[in-house]
């Protein structure tokens, strides 16, 4: 007796194939995201990256007039190396020395020039910090 065809399997197979196709299409057109780097790993990197680190004391400037300049070091003091960031756009009230931030941009002549409005400051909203 001939085996009965199961349309459900066909539907599932076609759907999975369609999803994969769309996924490949997207990733080939739009790329697969930006690298997320610590300041100590930034040297020599070309193109747009997301820099993640802690804000060092002594930031200055105006993010809406000439740019806010601050230095970032690796999270939790993993390395002493710092990177100077020039940023324009919105700055969260949570932004201050010691806070962890992520900012998108690229390295130009030793300074990390940030994309406008790309600064995200981690909200120290909940849960106790890791006990050392």
């Amino acid at each position: 007796m001939a085996r009965k065809r199961n349309p459900a399997r066909l539907v599932i197979a076609l759907s999975v194939a369609a999803v994969l196709a769309v996924f490949l299409l997207y990733t080939s057109i739009a790329g697969d995201g930006t690298p997320s780097l610590a300041p100590s790993a930034l040297a020599g990197k070309k193109g747009v990256v997301t820099l993640v680190g802690d804000v060092r004391p002594g930031y200055r400037g105006d993010s809406y007039a000439g740019g806010l300049r601050f230095k970032l070091s690796d999270r939790d003091g993993a390395s002493k190396q710092t990177v100077t960031v020039v940023y324009t756009g919105s700055v969260s009230d949570q932004f201050r020395a010691g806070r962890e931030v992520s900012v998108k941009g690229e390295l130009r002549n030793g300074t990390f020039v940030a994309v406008k409005d790309s600064l995200v400051t981690k909200c120290p909203s909940k849960y106790t910090a890791k006990k050392s």
Binding site: K4, N6, P7, A8, V11, I12, S15, V19, V22, F23, Y26, A30, D32, G33, T34, P35, S36, L37, T50, V52, D62, S63, Y64, A65, S90, V91, S92, D93, Q94, E100, S102, V120, T121, K122, C123, P124, S125, K126, Y127, T128, A129, K130, K131
Partner: protein, 664 residues
């Protein structure tokens, strides 16, 4: 007092350990008395966990800073409502709150099912006890809220952004959702352990699943409202890992709620449903792992704690254990019924499920992508909102359309002719809507135009269903249109409540499309007397005022609002400076047009010493439909959840018959 709290938690741990061991032995050896004592132990955990929670609440109410947890999250100046809500504002307290809700859900599940589904409940108790054991262990051994110290004079205060009315309820709803997903999971696993072939576990947990799903949905909307007003960047959802952590189990549970109907009606998708329940529960644990492990960079930093590894271990145990059990029970999950046609109600449910699961997995992939990339290629990469937005449109639009198609297609097989007749009106309404919107200029966003046309289609098909149903009910029993309508909904709560939920999703989609795809934005530095024009609005900076608040100093830029030459009043935006917390928070100004659902949304990015302000202003059309959708969603869910004696009787007869058949 802290000793009482600790003792209560140790008692909970002992009780769940007993419930697990005694429950497992009782289920295996079919010892009824032992099973009952395991159930009693499980019920008692509500009392002991309740005592622990009460101790902590009292410590908060008395500002007892000898409790480290209380000191970390409150201060003398903190208003009482936020002081008490700080219970779930920190890690240990949130774990305790989680456990408390789990004991409530478990007690309700056991009490409601121990007579009606005795054989199944016997196996469910050890599963529930296993989940409880993990949380009780965490609270007793790893992260206790009852750690003490020499009491400092004042507490550290609560983060200002959490001092918002929405934050009083948002976590409660989210936890109700996350924790509630334990119940269908426990019953599904219990059913597999008991080697049952029937759908009893689905029927037994339908309401619990709906409660959890509703709570998770409402919780996310409240969270969006909080983010919109308090975080104040001009949006309501940012695809942050922590937000995604709540969205993923909700999507999986949505798929499950649809596919169970296919299993109930046709006996199909049995394996799929078990897998969906495991996925939804695992994602709720995965979300907790994400938010507490620090493994991913999120705007929320409640991530730096050592309990992430414990959650990862528990997640691995849940996933591997469940999948092994499913594999061992595969013969029980085979389905005899087949999909007869690709154009049928069950087929549309299948498409809906595939899209929902694809969207869930796509989000999961985006969330875990940085870890996977770093693991295999040595460099972390993150995907931005563009990735999520793309797939949200790709999967979301067909899902929207299916909401209008699915309920109107016949079970088993539908002819193309009947489809044409059924969908003529909705399709016509959609086409007219699309053309009118195109003429009005909505073609600036093609996804937006499609979303609105699809929304019109779905609303028309839902409306048609209500009209047809009411007409039929009136023809059957006479009476007025309103009474026929009320009788229709009352007699088919699940179906028509579901339609109302669908309508809420359409309203949500209209709101999201309007606020995201058709918004206007402008920004600039203003001195007193100067103006900024955004969209049809003109804002004139009148003055900067300062006034004291309950526990902060409030600074506000007062702006006169004008549209088309008409004065609309003032809007105030500024900052709050919190003294104890030594933090500043942005306080946005929002002017809502209740007729159009549009918001004028003002952020005072900078308040400068010279009195000038830097403003960012958004005009967000239809954004208030998002919040309206929340109320409609809740209404639909409540109708669906409302007890239906007729349905209960029908199910009781059906399962009495099924059990008699199984016993013979």
């Amino acid at each position: 007092m802290p000793e009482l709290g600790r003792a209560a938690l140790v008692a909970t741990l002992g009780l769940v350990l007993y419930a697990l061991v005694a429950g497992a032995v009782a289920a295996r050896t079919r010892r009824r008395r032992l099973a009952e004592s395991a159930q009693t132990a499980l019920l008692l955990t509500f009392v002991t966990t309740g005592v622990a929670t009460l101790v902590l609440l009292l410590a908060f109410a008395r500002n007892d800073y000898s409790f480290v947890y209380v000191w970390e999250l409150t201060s003398d100046q903190l208003p009482i409502q936020y002081t008490l809500a700080a219970l779930w504002g920190g890690q240990a307290g949130s774990l305790l709150f989680w456990l408390l809700l789990l004991t409530v859900y478990s007690a309700a599940a056991v009490l409601l099912n121990r007579r009606a589904s005795r054989d199944l409940t016997v196996w469910v108790v050890p599963v529930l006890a296993t989940v409880m054991l993990f949380f009780a262990f965490m609270l007793v051994v790893v992260s206790s809220p009852f750690a003490t110290q020499v009491a400092p004079a004042d507490g550290r205060g609560l983060n200002p952004s959490l001092q918002n009315p929405y934050m009083l309820v948002h976590p409660i709803f989210l936890y109700l959702g996350y924790v509630g997903l334990t119940i269908p999971f426990a019953f599904a696993i219990g059913s597999l352990l008991a080697r049952r072939k029937d759908e009893r576990w689905i029927v037994a947990t339908r309401r619990a699943t709906l409660v959890a799903w509703t709570a998770l949905g409402v919780g996310q909307l409240i969270g969006s409202k909080w983010a919109y007003e308090e975080v104040g960047w001009g949006g309501f959802y940012a695809w942050d890992p922590v937000e995604n952590a709540a969205l993923m189990p909700w999507l999986a549970a949505t798929a499950f709620l649809h596919s169970v109907m296919v299993q109930e009606k046709r006996g199909m998708l049995r394996l799929w449903n078990v897998l969906l329940v495991i996925l939804a529960f695992s994602l709720s644990i995965f979300g907790t792992f994400l938010t507490r492990s620090g493994i991913l960079s999120s705007v929320h930093s409640f991530t730096e704690s050592p309990i992430g590894a414990w959650f990862l271990g528990f997640l691995a145990f849940v996933v591997l254990g469940s999948l092994l059990l499913v594999f061992a029970r595969l013969p029980l999950l085979r389905t005899r019924a087949r999909l007869e046609s690709l154009v049928s109600r069950e087929a549309t449910f299948l498409y809906n499920n595939l899209l929902l699961v694809a969207l869930t997995l796509t989000i999961l992939w985006g969330v875990t992508y940085p870890i996977v990339h770093e693991m295999f290629l040595g460099e972390s990469r993150i995907v931005g909102p563009g990735y999520y937005n793309f797939f949200f449109v790709i999967f979301g639009l067909p899902l929207l359309l299916l909401m209008g198609i699915g309920p109107l297609v016949a079970w088993r097989r539908a002819s193309l002719r009947s489809l044409g007749l059924t969908f003529a009106w909705p399709a016509g309404v959609a086409a007219v809507t699309g053309l009118v919107l195109l003429a009005l200029g909505a073609g600036s966003s093609i996804p937006g135009l499609i979303a609105y046309s699809f929304s019109a289609f779905v609303l028309a098909s839902i409306g048609l269903e209500f009209v047809r149903g009411t007409r039929a009910r009136r023809a059957l029993s006479g009476g007025s249109w309103p009474s026929a309508f009320a009788a229709l909904v009352s007699r088919n709560r699940r179906r028509y409540g579901g339609y109302i939920v669908h309508a809420s999703i359409v309203v949500l989609a209209i709101g999201i499309a309007g606020a995201s795809l058709y918004d206007s934005v402008g920004e600039g530095r203003l001195t007193r007397g100067s103006s900024l024009a955004v969209g049809d609005y003109r804002l004139t900076y009148r003055d900067l005022v300062e006034r004291p608040g309950a526990n902060a100093t409030l600074v506000r830029a007062v702006l006169d609002v004008e549209r088309g030459g008409e004065q609309l009043g003032v809007v105030e935006a500024g900052k709050n400076a919190y003294t104890v917390e030594r933090q500043v928070s942005n306080e946005v100004g929002v002017r809502t047009d209740y007729l159009t659902g549009e918001d004028l949304f003002v952020i005072a990015e900078q308040v400068n010493p010279d009195g000038s302000v830097y403003l960012r202003v958004f005009v967000k059309p239809l954004v208030n439909l998002l919040w309206l959708a929340g109320f409609i969603f809740l209404l639909g869910s409540l109708i669906t959840l409302w007890p239906d004696a007729r349905e209960q009787r029908r199910l009781a007869v059906r399962y009495r018959g099924a059990e008699a058949h199984a016993d013979s």
